[in-house]
Symmetry: C2
Subunit: 423 residues, 2 copies
Amino acid sequence: MTQDSKSGTSRRAFLRGTLAAGTAVAGAGMARAAGPDPLITEVQPWAQGLGDGVDATPYGLPIEFESDVIRRNVPWLTADPISSINFTPIHALDGTITPQGCAFERHHSGAIELAKPDYRLMVNGLVEKPLVFTYADLERFPRENHVYFCECAANTGMEWAGAQLNGAQFTHGMIHNMEYTGVSLRTLLEEAGADLSGDKWVYVEGADASSNGRSIPMEKALDDVLVAFKANGEALRKEHGYPVRLVVPGWEGNMWVKWLRRIEVMDGPVESREETSKYTDVMEDGSARKWTWVMDAKSVVTSPSPQSPITHGAGPLVITGLAWSGHGRITRVDVSKDGGMTWETARLAREGENKALTRFYLDTEWDGSEMLLQSRAMDETGYVQPTKAQLREVRGLNSVYHNNCIQTWHVKENGEAENVEVS
Amino acid sequence: MTQDSKSGTSRRAFLRGTLAAGTAVAGAGMARAAGPDPLITEVQPWAQGLGDGVDATPYGLPIEFESDVIRRNVPWLTADPISSINFTPIHALDGTITPQGCAFERHHSGAIELAKPDYRLMVNGLVEKPLVFTYADLERFPRENHVYFCECAANTGMEWAGAQLNGAQFTHGMIHNMEYTGVSLRTLLEEAGADLSGDKWVYVEGADASSNGRSIPMEKALDDVLVAFKANGEALRKEHGYPVRLVVPGWEGNMWVKWLRRIEVMDGPVESREETSKYTDVMEDGSARKWTWVMDAKSVVTSPSPQSPITHGAGPLVITGLAWSGHGRITRVDVSKDGGMTWETARLAREGENKALTRFYLDTEWDGSEMLLQSRAMDETGYVQPTKAQLREVRGLNSVYHNNCIQTWHVKENGEAENVEVS
């Protein structure tokens, strides 16, 4: 046994100036009178009586004090909430798992209700035997579990021309990260005797009125795509495609077809609405770049940020955020306090996982002066997250999708933060 | 690109007898008429109109069809639900993460409501400087993220004398597995200048009326104990100790003190109610074994099981379950179909994680005859989960806690399963 700190750094300096010894401390900007703290010296109401019994909430919800940690819509973004998006409250979360209840959702014709007994999944096209599976059939194939992030290609899409939305939830919240359980798409294609040649494509289609459909090249279909029915251990939520959705690791969320009803093996791509007029990248000259499926390495500081200001004065400050890459593992995240002039390497909470969110921390001392906070992700391929200027140099200003640029928060002396642009 | 199955085994045999090609299949015991399946050939109601918009549920809940996947109480277990327990629906979950909403809870005086501004954590006793932290203070220390299981020492405690409760939820559901975020206890002890000598103890105490308190030897306190404020990314739920609980990896759940209010560094253990009259193991001769903190390696088949019967006939069957060990990683799980006479090694969904749930699968062919299903876990220390007979040989029949014996489900020809004893 050793008395040395695991981190190798003494944090005893924390005490000086921020914590008072032997009495209640003045934390979190609360002014408190000197003398005994009644929250310690008096028996409080919650210690004088009984709380809720175990049958109070058979399926629990967050405590009322956390009622602001919810998905939020931006009403002006779309004409109607039926074909719209809401955002994960990433500014208020920590760790890497996203609870299903606050994981962003995106629909093209609303979240439908499809009961398991009514569910059918067809595999057709270039197959020896067209097949139809019930939900119960799917449960009889070997299952896999993997944690993956799902990011909408439009995440950060409002920010191309300049700083727009004041909060990490709104600029970067079209992302979630869950443990999926399902059957590999490869297994179902093999079951149907599909033509698995490298020049073939798979068209996947949802059961909702929008019939959201996307073409996937056979190589990806055989690699790591899952036909999933659980997320974070339990059934998918209605808004995430109950009872069955596709999971296309590292690739744009629109391809993760919900309420999956059909898988057609084809000679080529369909070039559907969702892969032509939408989800393609319009360049400076008006031409469009398509088949930009992979979500490149990206990161964002989630706290401090506009919705998560610093509520204490100078002294110890934890800067934290998320990083991810559709190409594999995050290997390093750097943080800048001066808008990218100097960088410090952040601590990864755990080793980066393949195509999953990675939490980073920078444990620092804040001197109370303003900061231009940025983070910059690197992945195992050596890719480095670009600045806005670098991205614009290649793509111009006409794009909506695949904006993975470095984000800047202007943190003021009073601890408040604002979305600004440092190109 | 290869056309070989990743698993190395062709699953094409699946087709024969269970799936009909080119038309809807008779799955999950549903009898259906021959001919076109209207669920495919007719446009269904959910494809004729719009579903819910994205503002329907700012914090979502499971779909109504999953309303049976909830925590359940066993009313006769305790006199009152205030000092009681409910059980995780492990029979219906997959993967390893437990959603907070259905993670078991155990209270001694009910689940209290304690708002963050009212929260205080005192560190006192053998320390240079007694300290009091607010919630906001805790957020300024370096944070860690880890996935750990939490198991009540009484899990499976009803089963000592024979098969009692008919369902994995009730026999083994006092367990959950979440990604915790918090500050290491070591950090706070160092901050207070605590005496960290190996012969010292730490007494941890909750803020509820029961003042649930436990003594922890210093070596464990300095090893991996967390003062946690988030689980699965979001705030702890009320029933899991909001805003702050202790996480004592691999050790019995009762030590994971909720609504943590005090950490006292002491010369010896307190020998509180919860570590003398409760949570000690009464042996055959009436003497009690105490300080049995670690939860030994254990496993259970979650499906098929009494609450998760086989709903299809003979043919491909996925047998799945959970394994865990308080000593570290699960390295292997074996499954027996004949009550322990012969064993097959199951597939681990992912490599075993330190003190976390591990999901196992046995992808098999069921011949339709009855089975006596068992699972047997092994951990990285070489420990092998014992049979009931082996456990009773050492401990007798007077125990309540720490029953980690091999469980048997009798699966009948009709697919139903029952809790039975094969010692």
